[in-house]
Symmetry: C2
Subunit: 210 residues, 2 copies
């Protein structure tokens, strides 16, 4: 069964793909509004991880409306949630299982349980957030074993944030009026040897003979 | 790295073990207060799934206090949460990563995010709930592929509930004064062919050559 993993090239969405790949046929999907080519970062990470990759072109109007909302609200929360819902809706046209790498203690806005149920029922999809039961500390424990990771503020990443900032600047709006100052992002740069899954898999195989 | 999966022999804790086993060395652990031998159900499922299994003897005083709490409250919520915290504390003496199969839409009481953070920091553990980002529908989609499952009310299962009911009856208390009428439980009875993980793993292996 095919699943789309919403993919930024960061450690959370990469680990989500790892968690799902023994159970589903994973395709990594990055949304873009077509005003920047930052999705290419995610495409390179997809190549490193070895999963099929697709870039999904979203209507620029969605970005426009979300940015207006962010400026009106003085923060990015509702705007990002709106973008996120539209992306899920678009992805649902071709995938019936959608995987989102949001973490238990993520500072990014989360869909509420009611919003999730409404999306699942309206779009007839399974929406899975495999890291919702993991802390940042646990994600770090696992991703350190699998990936070489670059972390920092304002990295050139493939998440929505980059295009939102760029769109704002093009219209003479200073992104810092809505964005929090510190938002550490990550990009997976390489896969480590000793990947781990292989050994674990062998163990399960052997135990079949019990 | 070793992890303890809190294990009832039901589909949720079985799927949790499947999700974690490519990443950690899984041991299935069932707590008992020693007044019933219902943990043997979980032991048999552990054998079927092929994981190491341990039964953990808990002090009967904990059960006594929890049952008093349930009777006082007229429901089982706080009592089960108290048992659950004590079990996690006991397991943490030998495992630094503890996996709990609770689901996003589980009717069983969940630890709050604050309670989880407090436990993780006080006991110096990683507490993972791998199904917290999965709906019941999604869990069913996955477990149907992997397991033959028996489902029903009041099954002879290895969860805390069975011993709590038994303890109450022994003291002349009718369990129905605190338990909800309908609580569908599940027991994994067999592993299906076409297990799935093997194929998926091969796919990831092949893609390494990209």
């Amino acid at each position: 069964m095919r699943v789309a993993v919403l993919f930024s090239g960061g450690k959370d969405s990469s680990l989500s793909a790892f968690l799902m790949s023994p159970h589903f046929e994973v395709t990594l999907v990055t949304a873009t509004f077509g005003i920047e080519e930052n999705w290419r970062v995610a495409k390179e990470v997809a190549r490193i991880l070895g999963y099929p990759y697709e870039v999904l072109k979203m209507d620029e109007e969605i970005l426009e409306e979300a940015v207006e909302m962010m400026i009106r609200d003085g923060n990015t929360r509702k705007g990002f949630t709106e973008i996120h819902k539209k992306v899920i809706e678009e992805v649902s046209k071709r995938f019936s299982v959608i995987v989102d790498g949001i973490r238990r203690d993520d500072i990014s806005p989360k869909l509420t349980l009611d919003e999730i149920r409404s999306l699942e029922s309206r779009l007839d999809i399974h929406y899975i957030t495999p890291l919702m039961g993991f802390s940042r500390k646990t994600v770090n424990l696992m991703t350190r074993r699998y990936f070489e990771i670059e972390e920092g503020n304002n990295l050139y990443t493939s998440d929505y944030e980059f295009e939102v900032r760029s769109y704002m600047r093009d219209r003479g709006v200073d992104p810092s009026i809505v964005f929090p100052k510190n938002h550490v992002q990550s990009i997976v740069r390489a896969r480590k040897d000793g990947y781990g899954q292989e050994d674990a898999w062998k163990k399960v195989e052997i135990s079949e003979s019990i």
